[in-house]
């Protein structure tokens, strides 16, 4: 059985007493102790400010996945709007009832890691029309 481990370390000196977080988890299929068995790893270059799908639900066969997204830019002013929601009509991500929700801005050098319920697509909108590289991995 395949094994995928994720470890996070956060150390913060914001407060007078430092905060240290160290946790590890094994990525399993939904609600089980069986390890995930599928992995996708993609690097893309986006060259417009268009709002586009990054990871579609159709690309994953399960209803539970883990997603890692990285903005490898070294320019702190370049970022991606990362959202969840399906495109509707002619390219809009707002169907008037459940618009795509922006999770956050992924600045140059930043990463994110989260569980995804594979109910709606993960979409992205670059902050600039200059070439911007985005990397992601999906485990399911």
């Amino acid at each position: 059985m395949a094994t995928t481990n994720a470890t996070i370390n956060i150390d913060s000196a914001i407060t007078d007493s430092a905060l240290l977080i160290n946790n590890a988890t094994t990525l399993n299929l939904a609600g089980s102790t069986t390890g995930v068995n599928t992995m996708t790893s993609v690097t893309k270059t986006l060259s417009s400010e268009n709002h586009v799908d990054l990871i579609t639900t159709g690309s994953v066969a399960t209803t539970h996945a883990y997603v890692y997204i990285n903005n490898p830019s070294t320019d702190e002013t370049e970022f991606f709007h990362i959202g969840i929601g399906n495109v509707v009509g002619s390219g809009t991500y707002d169907d008037g009832t459940l618009p795509t929700e922006e999770i956050g801005r992924l600045y140059g050098g930043d990463f994110m890691f989260f569980p995804w319920d594979v109910d709606d697509d993960i979409n992205v909108k670059p902050s600039t029309a200059d070439d911007m590289v985005i990397e992601f991995m999906v485990f399911s």
Binding site: A2, T4, N9, I14, N28, G31, I103, M112, P115, M137
Partner: protein
């Protein structure tokens, strides 16, 4: 007062093992200046399958940088909580799993909500720990 985050992923799902290590210094919006505020690490015990607000969105938070870490401290791999932002489900956090992500707070409806979806009176509480790092200059008085 820097805050550093490092994620390591190691997997043998593919024939050739994959090891990814990524580190980031948490900085303010479009800046190299460190994030300088934190909620501190908090712990709550969930015992309700309906959505509860974990972090309340602040209108001032839009256009500012913020990072959130959440972990499900349950030791039962089958016990999960559902993470939602503005009615949009992000994912299910099973026992032992964590997430780390930037949070935009695009408007006051963008609060992070959590529901102990798999909780029943016989499962016991689901403990959640979380922390937010942010740059909002007046977070508490405007919350």
């Amino acid at each position: 007062m820097a805050t550093n985050a490092t994620l390591t992923l190691s997997s043998d799902v593919s024939g050739d093992p994959v090891d990814v290590t990524k580190s980031a210094v948490l900085t303010k919006d479009k800046s190299l200046n460190d994030l300088d505020q934190s909620t501190g690490l908090s712990r709550v015990h969930l015992r309700n399958a309906t959505n509860k607000t974990l972090l309340l969105a602040n209108a001032e938070g839009n256009d500012l940088a913020s990072k959130v870490y959440i972990i499900n401290k349950s030791e039962d791999a089958g016990l999960y909580v559902t993470i939602t932002i503005n009615a949009q489900t992000v994912g299910k956090l099973y026992g032992g799993d964590f997430m780390f992500f930037p949070w935009s707070q695009t408007d006051t409806a963008s609060s992070i909500e959590v529901a102990a979806t798999s909780w029943t009176s016989s499962t016991g509480d689901i403990p959640i720990e979380y922390v937010q790092f942010h740059e909002d200059t007046d977070f508490l008085t405007n919350a």
